[in-house]
Structures are given as C-alpha cells and as structure tokens.
C-alpha cells in the first residue's frame, strides 16, 4: 500500500475506492456508510430536527488528550447538545493535502471511529477530497451533525433571566493551553491535556430531570468563557457577574497561562458547558452534573444580575471588579 496520499486518492477512481474500502470502512462500520450510497437515510424520529456543522483545522493534528479526529466528532456532538438536542448521526468530510501520511490518516480515522462509537453517534455519510501540495495544511475535517430536540425544552442563549445561576461543568482552558503549548513546543507539565469530550450524555441526564429550570447551555470553545458569557449576556440582554474564586482552573493551567501571558478566561474548551438556570434549581443541577464523569469538577461560578445592559463583570479574588469583554483577534503571548 502507498505511504502518502496522492491526488489519485481524491480522483473518485480506483485509488479512491481502495482508500475508502481499505482504510475508512475498516474503522467506520455503520451499515448506512458501508453501502456507499449517495446519502444516508435515517429512521423515523419524533421531535424537532437540529442541525449543526463545524470545520476543524487544528494545528497540531495530534495533541495531548486527543487529535483532530476526536475533536471533529466531539465538537459537533456538543453543538447539538447545547440546544438540548439528542445527536443521531454525523457526516465526515475530509480535505487532505497531497503528500499527507497515510499512517497519520489511519490514526485519525481510527480516532474518529473510536470517538463516534463511544459516543454512540455513528458516521453515516462522508466525503474525501485531495488538494495539491501547498493548497491545504495537512488535513481539514468538516463534520455535520443531525439530532432531535424534544418539545419539552427550549434551550437558547436568549433565555437567561435576572436572578439565574451560572454553572460551569468543569475546569477551564485545558484545551486552549494544551494547543498553545504544543504550538510553541512548550511542555506545560502537570499532566495537562485537552478536555475534548462529548457532552450529550451529561446534557441528556440534566434534561431528563428538568422541568424548564435550565434556560441556557453553551460550550465555551473559541474565545473561551469570557467571550461566550458576553454572547449570552448580549443575546439575553442581561448582566452577568462571575466570581473569580469560584472558577475551576487547574493550578498547572493557571501557572502556564501566567508564564506565557494568556488569560484562561479567553482560552478554548472542548468538553465543557456553561449552564444558566433558575436559582432554586442550581444546587440540584450541580449535584447531577457532579455525578457524571464529564461534570465531576462542575461549579457554580456566578449569577445573572438585575441589570439589562448585556455586560459581564468579574469579581476578582481580592474583591475588585472588572468588566469582561469579548476576545478580539487571536490571543497573543506577551513579550516579557
């Protein structure tokens, strides 16, 4: 077998068929995919259809705690879960640069398969394109997910209410600092790795017991917690106050952020969610989260205030106060 991807692998001819048959179908075993039809036809489901798409261009492709394959599966599952939808199936589209290592591709497809299987959300359709060397950066992945949202819940970023509690399902900035560290070849130490994980089971468990007390679910990915809270505050026209000393941040992450000059509130997370709910239900919801492995480190981090200006502020550990603005541009390390 070849060791590198060539343009032939994307031609639709024999080389493409070999790649699909020998590599993709070896790992991705869903019956709908195996038949290689033009589209997958799913079963009948009652409820509202939820649809989400995301493209993954992470560099490096492999990082502590995951790789572009697991990220592409979890990211789209989480986007569906954040509207309270039960994910049913995913598509997988690859854009591969000519010359990409087949061994790396195999590792990534195996990781996609593992992640999708353990999440119980199958890859049911796919596509592969190869572009000439220099026209892409190794490998890009797009996944689209389809799910069903029940009529019982109406979860949305516009639903935060004055007096609500703000919960976070776990520690902050693990993914962001892992990637920044890998890009800079800095060994962060402390066993820090990406938090990439699917959240649909956690959300499912929360919604199963819920009687309309959960108003907002959001995963603080790019832009981090601060930017995502700003989006919620603006969409719901409410003020949010977060307390610094309640934020769950691993000591090694905090130290690495200080060394490089980054603010953990602005770094990406790939397996955490913000939850805004009725104040009365907060403690019970928190306990439910903590019973699940994905929510083990969940914490109540703040409150929705009475103001309606769409602002987010942070009460610092020493009792000071500052506003949190959305991220502008890329986070850049400082000079000294």
């Amino acid at each position: 077998m070849d060791t590198f991807i060539s343009l032939d692998h994307g031609s639709g001819g024999l080389a493409s068929q070999n790649l699909i048959g020998n590599l993709f179908l070896k790992y991705l075993t869903c019956p709908q995919l195996r038949d290689l039809e033009d589209c997958a036809v799913l079963g009948e489901y009652a409820g509202r259809i939820a649809l989400s798409t995301d493209s993954y261009v992470v560099d490096p492709l492999f990082f502590p705690g995951g790789d572009i394959g697991s990220l592409a599966v979890h990211g789209t599952i989480n986007d569906l879960a954040m509207r309270g939808a039960l994910p049913l199936a995913l598509s997988l589209a690859l854009i591969i640069e000519e010359g990409f290592s087949l061994a790396d591709l195999e590792r990534i497809i195996a990781s996609v398969a593992r992640s999708s299987e353990s999440a119980g959300v199958a890859i049911v359709t796919g596509d592969t394109k190869v572009v000439p060397r220099g026209k892409a950066d190794g490998l890009f992945i797009n996944t689209t997910g389809i799910g069903i949202a029940s009529h019982r819940h109406d979860i949305s970023g516009t639903k935060a209410q004055p007096g609500d509690a703000v919960l976070l399902s776990g520690t902050l900035a693990d993914h962001g600092i892992t990637i920044m560290g890998a890009q800079a070849s800095i060994d962060i130490g402390g066993g820090i790795q990406s938090d990439t994980q699917p959240l649909h089971r956690l959300v499912g468990a929360l919604l199963e017991e819920d009687t309309g007390r959960i108003h907002v679910l959001r995963d603080p990915t790019r832009g981090g917690l601060a930017t995502t809270l700003c989006e919620i505050a603006r969409a719901s026209a409410v003020d949010i106050v977060i307390e610094e000393e309640r934020l769950p941040i691993r000591p090694a992450v905090e130290t690495a952020c200080e060394l490089i000059g980054l603010d953990p509130l602005y770094l990406a997370n790939e397996g955490k969610c913000i939850l805004v709910c009725d104040r009365d239900g907060a403690e019970e919801i928190l306990q439910t989260m903590r019973r699940m492995p994905e929510g083990r480190d969940a914490a109540l981090i703040g409150w929705v205030g009475e103001g309606r200006r769409g602002r987010v502020s942070l009460t610092t550990r020493i009792g000071g106060s500052r506003l949190l603005e959305p991220l502008t541009g890329q986070p850049l390390p400082r000079i000294c």
Partner: protein
C-alpha cells in the same frame, strides 16, 4: 497551594487596602511604569478598590508601545525579502508601521513566526540554514540579557544566518527625561519589578534624589502592588521620598550582575527614539562592533524613510501619562484592539488595550470613575 496564592488572598490584601485608605492625606498621582503592572492593576480590579484621590498613570513601560514606527518599518522591510524569516514575540505582529503590520505581511506571503524566546529564533535559524532568521530585538533590561546570551550562543555555535535588529531600550534614562516634564506632577513611581531584578533597586536612587520623587519597586501580585502603593503614600506623607524595595523576593539593591555584564558585553548605549517621547540620549542598546555580523539592518542592507506617527494618534501623550486613553479622539472609535492605530492598543500590555479589555469598550463607560 501555589506560592502566588498568598499574594492574592483577600486576607492579605484587604488590610492593605484599608491602610491605604487611612494613610491617604491628600490626592496623590502615581505612575506605574511597567506594562505588566498596568495589566495586573486592571486584571485584579485594583482601581475599583482604591480611594478616588489616588490617580494611577500608566508610564512608558510597554516595550511594544514605545517602539517607533521607523523600527516597525525596518522589520517590515526585512519581511519583504524572500529569503528572510522574521521570528518575533507575538505582541509585535499586529503593530502597524507606515505600510501595514507583520501580520499583514504574513498574510501576503512573508515568513513570520511567533517565538517565545530569542533562543527559539536561533533554533529556527539552525534548522533552516538556507534562510536568514531575523529577530526584532525590542524590549527593556528584562529581555536584553537573553538576547545577548543568544548572540553569544550563535557566535559560539558558528550560526551565521541569525541576525537581530537592535531596538532594545533601557529604563532609568527615559524616566529621568519624562520626569523632567513639569506638567506631569507625579508624586511617586511604582517601579517595574522585572526590570529592577536586573538593574537593582538602587538604579532609581538618582531619580528619587533629582526629582524628589517617591519610588517603590513592586512585584506583580495584588499584594505586591498594594504594598508598593502604600509605601509610596507613606513616603509622600512623610515628605521624605526615597527608594523602597517592596519586591525583595526577586530584587536586590544591585540587581543581577551576571545579566548586566551580558548586556554590556554585547551591547553599548546609543541615543534612541521612543514613540511619543522623542530621542532620549543613551537610552537604547546597540550591538558592539565585534557583533556587527549579527546586525540585520547591515547584513540585509535595510533602509527606510523617516516615518510619521499615525495621524490623530495620542499614544505619545498617553505614554507620558498626560492623557488617559478615553481622552484620545481615536480611542474606541477608529482605534480598537481589532484594528489598532497606535501601539498602546496593540500590545497586551498597552495602556489603551488594558483600558479597552478590562474597562469596557465605549468612551462613555471609560470616562466614569477612572481616577
């Protein structure tokens, strides 16, 4: 528990805040020189805890902010050369020169890499012997020793495709110049902890004597900063300004002699242009003659036209502590962190970026309760 935790605990900071409130006898104006102090003050919400009679001014201690357009243009001219890779600290890539920024040059196809230390740039040069790797050597006494060490390493390893543009600056002379301005009316100086670790706290003695100015060297944790402010207020009250070292866990009176010796071995003082402050005698660092082969401007034959500072930009006044960011006509309207006009908006540690990020973006919100 991390060692920093104690310096961030309310048990430690609350008594300091109270004592500052009790000690304050008259309005005082304090300049925090260092960009890292500016950021820490915002980040921990320290202003919101202080009595309103304390005015905190941000000084010229952000290396990116004081780098003049001319130097940025030199970096851009180097980036234009096909065989050159620019290896730079991240802060610098969005700073606009006369014709775009390094980020824009990268988008057009130039090789611009972000590094975390000059040694990383040297490693890059080692891996790509066919290219010239240029490191824009901006920064103060804190970064200069590492740059000097990198030059010496390059010499020892015989690496010939690594060059720098010597744009480094030194702090005390610039402060002396700045403080000579009678309009500034500064009572005390919160001196930069990192720079002082190298130059030592005694480096501020002449400033304290000449300008009858209270000086306190402080670290960057909330308790450090509050202790520094308290020391300054007490010195002002007692009418006996001097130099207090409130950062003894990192700073000694004479500083880091080995680091100072490294700087002196590789660099010599030169008159240097500071953005907004003009040319200050002997306030820059130039490669000594025996290291000229590491001088990127010579090696790559770089020359640029004298540059105009951006029109309407008041970074100069802000760096001098004469103006607060919201007073600049460009602030928050045409000049934002996403599309910065002046360098104070670009750098993480720039005063304008700090105001914008931690104070809220709009002009109207900014002007309320700032000092």
């Amino acid at each position: 528990m991390k060692c920093a935790d104690g310096f961030r605990s309310r048990d430690v900071t609350a008594p300091l805040v109270e004592e500052i409130g009790r000690s304050l006898e008259r309005p005082v104006r304090i300049m925090e020189v260092c960009g890292t102090h500016t950021m820490a003050i915002f980040r921990h919400g320290i202003r919101s805890l202080l009595p309103e009679f304390i005015t905190l001014l941000s000084g010229p201690g952000c290396p990116v902010c004081v780098t003049p357009t001319n130097h940025i243009d030199l970096f851009l001219a180097a980036a234009d050369q096909e065989s050159v890779t620019i290896a730079t600290f991240g802060d610098l890539i969005r700073v606009p020169g006369s014709r775009g920024s390094l980020a824009a040059a990268r988008a057009r196809g130039a090789r611009v890499e972000i590094v975390y230390s000059p040694m990383d740039a040297l490693t890059l040069a080692q891996g790509e012997p066919q290219r010239t790797v240029l490191f824009p050597a901006i920064g103060f006494e804190t970064t200069a020793p590492t740059i000097a060490a990198t030059i010496l390493a390059a010499e020892q390893m015989g690496i010939d495709n690594f060059v720098i543009i010597d744009a480094g600056k030194t702090m005390p002379r610039a402060l002396d110049e700045l403080l000579a301005d009678p309009d500034l009316r500064v009572d005390g100086l919160l001196c930069p902890g990192h720079v002082s670790a190298i130059i030592g706290s005694e480096a501020y003695r002449p400033l304290a004597d000449t300008h009858r100015l209270a000086c306190a060297v402080a670290g960057f944790e909330p308790a450090d900063i509050l202790a520094g402010l308290l020391s300054l207020i007490r010195q002002v009250n007692e009418g006996s300004p001097g130099v207090a070292n409130c950062y003894t866990r990192a700073v000694t009176a004479e500083g880091n002699l080995r680091a100072r010796q490294l700087i002196n071995q590789v660099f010599e003082p030169v008159d240097s242009q500071w953005r907004g402050l003009g040319i200050i005698p002997a306030s820059g660092l130039r490669l000594r003659e025996q290291y000229h082969r590491f001088d990127g401007a010579r090696r790559l034959d770089l020359a640029v036209q004298p540059a105009q500072e951006p029109k309407g930009c008041r970074c100069g006044e802000i760096l001098k502590g004469r103006m607060l960011p919201p007073d600049c006509p460009l602030y928050g309207t045409v000049c934002t962190p996403l599309q910065p006009i002046g360098p104070c908006m670009v750098s993480n540690e720039g005063t304008c970026a700090a105001y914008f990020r931690y104070g809220g973006g709009s002009r109207e919100m900014k002007t309320g309760g700032l000092d």
